[in-house]
């Protein structure tokens, strides 16, 4: 490797590309491309119709422009909407049939699918560009009646569930990117936990963008039936490229009576180089419906990657006594930008929501927390607690907090606390005096700052996330 490459590799260790033959849809966005996607996935007609309905709608819509981070106009005709390794065309039935090149890619990313199936207690769905290439632990989950498979498979095998719930939380008319996703989505995970079942292991999906000039349109649907519980985690990486790539996902969660869904994200898409060239546009719609009484949905996100992160994982608290939580760490360094937060819509009585947001900004980055708490007239005795803390490193970065609060009944209470501080020089000094170098000290202090969020993560991922927090801020102080 040349020394500059070594330098780069140190900054973003997932930046490699897998050289693999792929099948692509023709470039650009059109009815034909949507038909191509639907056909190659062997989808039933109702699914194609659904997509085309979204596409018709899209033509009448405009890209939103109210967000803080602006970006150059995306030319939607210059993107590929489908790209998949040739070898993954006929989805392999077992890991032994998966292309070794793909297995090697995931091993390099720290997810050795084969070994993992034997050792760890985490089931993985691996999505490579537009297709799922492997899902582990399927048999063990099937025993309990749990469905964990690529959504493209669920469309064929479990059409009733998909028809009933897909688009029920994020309508296909929702907004530009959600509608775009509804028209062209390619893969993602489908989870169904039957009534009364506690999912015995963590479920996770690992998203990898590999092909260039390709958008990734993930679609994930998780349904927790009455009295069930599931913890789900997604991870994301992409190669280093000078172009900006779009990842526009739709994730829908549905929790019925007494059910609980815990959804965690560790997002480490390529952030672009230190001059702001390249990186992923992470424009994601995530929404959960607490449809049943006493249900609970908890979002935890650690957002360290992407050139621009723009997302508001939200909870619609329909069921009485339902609970929504949002725990977030958003780190922006160099030229990265984030505009993220949540929406908590209280509709049922005695509903509760909690928002803990930790924004860290370094270099020339810009970090916005934007959040809505909307307590409906009929949502009597509801409660929200919001805490937003921002930490700044250096004086070229920015942090903003934009809370929208609508409390429409007098029996409900909303509490909001916000702080903004600079990284404390005296704390750094204390750490240095104990032998820690600047990077170790920053990592330790920032991890402390984020603790309330980090401790929400499943054990297996908390350690990785802590390291990631440190790595994302390397070179930010001193």
């Amino acid at each position: 490797m040349k020394s500059t490459e070594i330098e780069k590799a140190k900054e973003y260790k997932y930046g490699f590309t897998t050289d693999i033959e792929s099948i692509k849809a023709p470039k650009g966005l059109s009815k034909e491309v949507i038909q191509f996607i639907s056909k190659i996935k062997k989808e039933p007609k109702w699914m194609l119709d659904w997509r085309l309905k979204a596409f018709d709608r899209l033509k009448k819509m405009k890209e939103p422009n109210w967000q803080k981070p602006k970006y150059p106009k995306i030319n939607y005709q210059e993107l590929y909407y489908y790209s998949a390794p040739k070898s993954a065309q006929d989805k392999p039935k077992s890991l032994d049939e998966v292309d070794p090149k793909l297995l090697e890619t995931y091993a390099k990313l720290g997810i050795p699918l084969k070994e993992q199936e034997k050792l760890s207690g985490v089931a993985v769905d691996a999505v490579f560009d537009s297709v799922s290439v492997a899902t582990t632990f399927k048999d063990k989950l099937t025993e309990k009646g749990i469905i964990f498979c690529p959504i493209s498979e669920a469309i064929k095998k479990h059409p009733d569930l998909v028809k009933k719930y897909l688009g029920s939380v994020i309508p296909i008319t929702d907004h530009y990117f959600a509608t775009l996703n509804s028209a062209v989505f390619t893969d993602g995970s489908f989870v169904y936990i039957p009534e009364g079942v506690r999912c015995p292991m963590e479920l996770s999906t690992y998203f990898r963008i590999n092909a260039s000039e390709t958008g990734q349109f993930e679609r994930t649907l998780i349904i927790a039936d009455k009295g069930s519980y599931v913890s789900y985690l997604e991870g994301c990486t992409a190669p280093m490229r000078d172009e900006n790539q779009l990842h526009a996902a739709n994730v829908e969660l549905i929790a019925l009576d007494d059910a609980e869904i815990k959804y965690s994200t560790v997002q480490n898409w390529y952030p672009g180089d230190e001059n702001g060239k390249g990186g992923i546009y992470n424009f994601v719609t995530k929404r959960g419906a607490c449809r049943g009484k006493n249900s609970k949905i908890s979002w935890t996100q650690v957002e360290t990657g992407s050139a621009i992160t723009w997302k508001y994982p939200s909870c619609i608290l329909q069921g009485d006594n339902s609970v929504g939580e949002f725990y977030s760490i958003a780190i922006t360094n160099n030229h990265q930008k984030a505009d993220t937060g949540t929406k908590m819509i209280h509709l049922g009585k005695n509903t509760k929501s909690k928002i803990i947001s930790k924004g860290i900004s370094a270099g020339k980055a810009d970090n916005t927390y934007r959040g809505l708490v909307d307590i409906n007239k009929k949502a009597l005795n509801s409660r929200n607690y919001t805490q937003c803390d921002s930490l700044l490193m250096g004086n070229k970065c920015g942090a903003h907090t934009v809370p929208y609060i609508k409390n429409k009944n007098s029996s409900s209470v909303v509490e909001h606390e916000a702080t903004t501080s600079k990284i404390n020089e005296e704390q750094l000094y204390y750490c240095n005096q104990r032998g820690l170098n600047q990077e170790e000290a920053v990592s330790l202090i920032v991890n402390g700052f984020c603790k309330e969020v980090l401790q929400q993560l499943p054990m297996e991922f908390a350690v990785e996330a802590q390291k990631l927090v440190g790595i994302s801020l390397e070179g930010s102080v001193g």
């Binding site: 204390y430 240095n432 005096q433 104990r434 402390g448 603790k451």
Partner: protein, 244 residues
């Protein structure tokens, strides 16, 4: 061990240390006394390498000029400062902090890192030796610690990191008599022919427990008098004003 020659330090053009000379040999314990604002903490900070001071003169530590050596490198070479006001770091577990610290120092010396088990064993041993409740170590670093707990935590850190040169900045201030004995025990049990100490204090009572080889009086940025243990007793009676 340490040779300070004509040390001057200023902050924002305010001159604080004004030509300070001090030599500490291996195995020696020096006490520094002096009125409030005379520059004692500044001396401790400057020795540790804290940024923000304009420095002239020389600090030679084990034969090496420290002027361009950053804080953490000095710490790794075995300079330890027990702070007058130990800082709170929210969210950071004290044990994890201390283990990171110990391993950074070990790594710099080319030694193997200690694992969690070995570390906890070391903590148990040192805390029971001093009679400190190790429970404070599972709390966030200094957060909500009482004044005395903070000081005891500094001494426990000193014991675990095992530095060759320790500076104690008023570690005895605000302590009850039992805590004072713990601090003294921490120092006395570490003393040997290779380790040196610089103990900053306002009170002779500490020196009843820790016997200094030398006592210096720092006033207005200079050492104006040096003596042995009796000097402290004398000062306790007469105050500093007589010396000026």
């Amino acid at each position: 061990m340490l040779k300070i020659k004509n040390l001057q330090a200023s902050v924002d053009k305010k001159s604080i240390l004004k030509g300070l000379n001090l030599t500490i040999k291996p195995g020696e314990l020096h006490a520094i006394m002096g009125p409030n604002g005379s520059g004692k903490s500044t001396l401790a900070n400057v020795l540790s390498g804290k940024n923000g001071y304009k420095i002239s003169g020389e600090i030679i530590f084990e034969g090496e000029n420290l002027n361009d050596i950053p804080i953490e490198k000095r710490a790794q070479k075995g300079i330890f400062l027990a702070f007058q006001y130990p800082l709170e770091i929210p969210g950071v577990n004290t044990n994890i902090f201390l283990k990171t610290s110990l391993n950074s120092i070990r790594k710099s010396k080319g030694k193997k890192e200690v694992d969690t088990l070995a570390f906890l064993k070391l903590v148990k041993e040192k805390s029971s030796e001093l009679g400190i409740d190790e429970k404070i170590l599972s709390r966030q670093l200094n957060v909500g610690f009482s004044g005395g707990e903070k000081k005891k935590n500094e001494i426990l850190q000193m014991k675990i990191l095992d530095p060759v040169f320790s500076i104690l900045d008023e570690t005895d201030s605000g302590l009850d008599i039992d805590a004072l004995k713990i601090i003294a025990k921490g120092v006395n049990s570490s003393r040997d022919s290779k380790k040196s100490f610089l103990v900053i204090t306002h009170y002779q009572r500490l020196l009843d427990y820790i016997k200094p080889d030398f006592v210096h009086v720092l006033s207005d940025g200079k050492i104006i008098k040096t003596g042995c243990g009796e000097l402290a007793e004398e000062l306790e009676k007469t105050g500093y004003s007589k010396l000026n």
